[in-house]
Subunit: 239 residues, 2 copies
DNA sequence: TCCTTTATGGTCATCTTGACCACAATTAAA
DNA sequence: TTTAATTGTGGTCAAGATGACCATAAAGGA
C-alpha cells in the first residue's frame, strides 16, 4: 500500500520506542526490516497514521498488536522531520515512548514473529552502543532511518525525568509487589550509574511513601540469597 | 491554495507560540484570522509544511517573515493530532516555542499588519485566561483551533524548565547588559509568583556566574529611581 | 533634609544530599 | 555447626541548598 509514495505530499508515521529493564540493562524492542528501504537492518515498530486516528491512537493500536495488554505507559517523544530521513519520500515521524516491565517485553517477543528481537542498549555517556542480549553488538549504522537518534532522544528524556516523576514504576511488573532493590535496579539501568543503596531508599521513601504513592505490604520476599526484603506496592491513581 | 483540503490525505502544519515578557506579564503573539475557519478569532502564526523543508525550517522561516532577526530561541513543543482539530480536514500540527525579548516582540508587532496584536497571558494556576494588554480579555473560546491548548502546553513547558536551564536569558534583550532585577521580572512573570529578591540573586549567581554563564560588566545602570544596579552580560556559548 | 525606592549583602534555622558505618537476617561454604 | 558472604535496613555526620528575614547602600523626590 505504501511501498510507493507520491512525491507531492507529506506522509506521517508513528514510531514507538519500547523500553524495558532486563538483566540490569535498558533494552529496546527492535524488529528486522523485511524489505527495502534498509532491508535487514533493525528498526523501531512503526506505521503510517490513518486518516481517522490521532497519532497517539496509532501508537496505542500498534502497541496493542504486539501485546494483548492494556494500560501501558505511552508518552509522545518528539517529531522527526528531516527531509531526507526516509528515502521513499517525504515522511514525518511522530515518535512515542513506551515503558514495559520485563514480563511484558517478554510476551511481546514471544508473540512477535522471528523478525522481532530485543537488544540491550547500554548507553554510557551519550554514545549509542547497542549491546545485544545474545552477544550481538549494534552500532548506529545497523539501525534503519534515523532510529538511532530516536532511541537516544528517548533515553535522554527518560533519564531527565525519572527522578522527579513516577515513570520508573512502569518498568516494574504491573500490580505486583516489589522490593526497593528492584526499583533501584531500574534507576541504575536507566541512569547508567550505581547509586548508594541507603540514600536511594531514603529518597524513594521520602518522595513516594510520604506522598502516598507506594505503601508497604505485609509480605516479605524470599527469592534471593541475603536477608529478605520488605515488599511495596504502587497505589494506583484514579484520574 | 489550501482553502480546500483533500479528504484522503494527512496534512502537516507548523504553529509557533511566540512568548515574551512585557510589563511584568507573559505575552503571546496572536493574529486575527481573516477567513474561515474561525474567522475573526485569534490564532497562533502557522503555515503548512513544505515538501522540502523540515518542520523546524518551516518554523524558522515563518518567524523570519515576522522578524528581520536571526538566532531567536526555537524549540519544538509538541505535536497535536486530534482528528477533528481542524474542520478543513485532517491536519496535524507540530508546534514550536519561540522566546523573544520585549524589543523583538515590539518589532514583530510593528512589522505585522493590523491583524497582528499581542495579548498578555496571565496564567495563574492552569486556567488559560488571556488578559489583554489593552484591556481585552481572551478566553479559551476566543482562540481558533486547539491553540488554547498549545499555549497552555508551552507555558507549562517553560515553567518546568526555566529554573534548571538557560531559557530565561532569551527573554532579555540580545547582546545587552541586564540587571538582575530584570531577570527576576522574567522569572516572576513566567512562574506567576513573586520571589524573594535576595534569595533569587544568590541562586542566580551561584548557578550562572559560578559556571561562567554570565559575568558582571563595569557599568551600572541609571535608568530607574533607586540605587543603580550592577549590570551583567550573558556569555555566548559556541556550540 | 528626610523619605521612598531599588540594590546588595548578610544571618539563621531548616531541609536535602552524599559519603559512610553498623547491624540484621538470610544462604552458602568450611 | 560454625563462619563467611550476601542482601536489606537503619542511622550518623558534614557539606550544601533553601526559605524567611533583616540591615545597609545608593540613588531620586518631596
Amino acid at each position: 500500500m505504501h511501498e510507493q509514495l507520491n512525491t507531492d505530499q507529506v506522509y506521517v508515521t508513528v514510531d514507538i520506542l519500547i523500553l524495558a529493564v532486563r538483566e540490569g540493562r535498558l533494552q529496546v524492542l527492535l524488529s528486522r526490516r523485511p524489505s527495502p528501504p534498509y532491508a535487514g537492518l533493525w528498526a523501531l515498530p512503526g506505521r503510517f497514521v490513518g486518516l481517522s486516528e490521532s497519532t497517539e491512537a496509532t501508537a496505542r493500536s500498534l502497541l496493542q498488536e504486539m501485546l494483548p495488554l492494556r494500560g501501558a505507559y505511552v508518552e509522545q517523544l518528539y517529531t522527526f522531520s528531516d527531509v531526507s530521513r526516509d528515502p521513499r519520500g517525504r515522511v514525518i515521524s511522530v515518535s512515542y515512548l513506551v515503558l514495559l516491565s520485563p514480563q511484558q517485553l517478554q510476551s511481546a517477543l514471544a508473540a512477535g514473529s522471528g523478525r522481532l528481537r530485543s537488544f540491550a542498549a547500554s548507553c554510557a555517556g551519550l554514545s549509542l552502543a547497542l549491546d545485544g542480549g545474545d552477544g550481538v553488538i549494534l552500532g548506529e549504522g545497523d539501525l534503519a532511518f534515523d532510529h538511532g537518534r530516536i532511541i537516544r532522544t528517548g533515553i535522554l528524556r527518560l533519564r531527565g525525568k525519572i527522578d522527579y516523576t513516577d515513570v520508573g514504576f512502569h518498568f516494574l511488573a504491573d500490580q505486583q509487589a516489589f522490593a526497593l532493590s528492584e526499583l533501584q535496579d531500574v534507576f541504575e539501568a536507566v541512569l547508567g550509574k550505581p547509586t548508594d543503596t541507603s540514600n536511594f531508599r531514603r529518597a524513594v521513601l521520602a518522595r513516594y511513601e510520604a506522598t502516598g504513592r507506594i505503601e508497604q505490604t505485609e509480605k516479605a520476599e524470599k527469592r534471593r540469597r541475603g536477608r529478605p526484603a520488605a515488599l511495596y506496592r504502587v497505589i494506583p491513581r484514579d484520574e
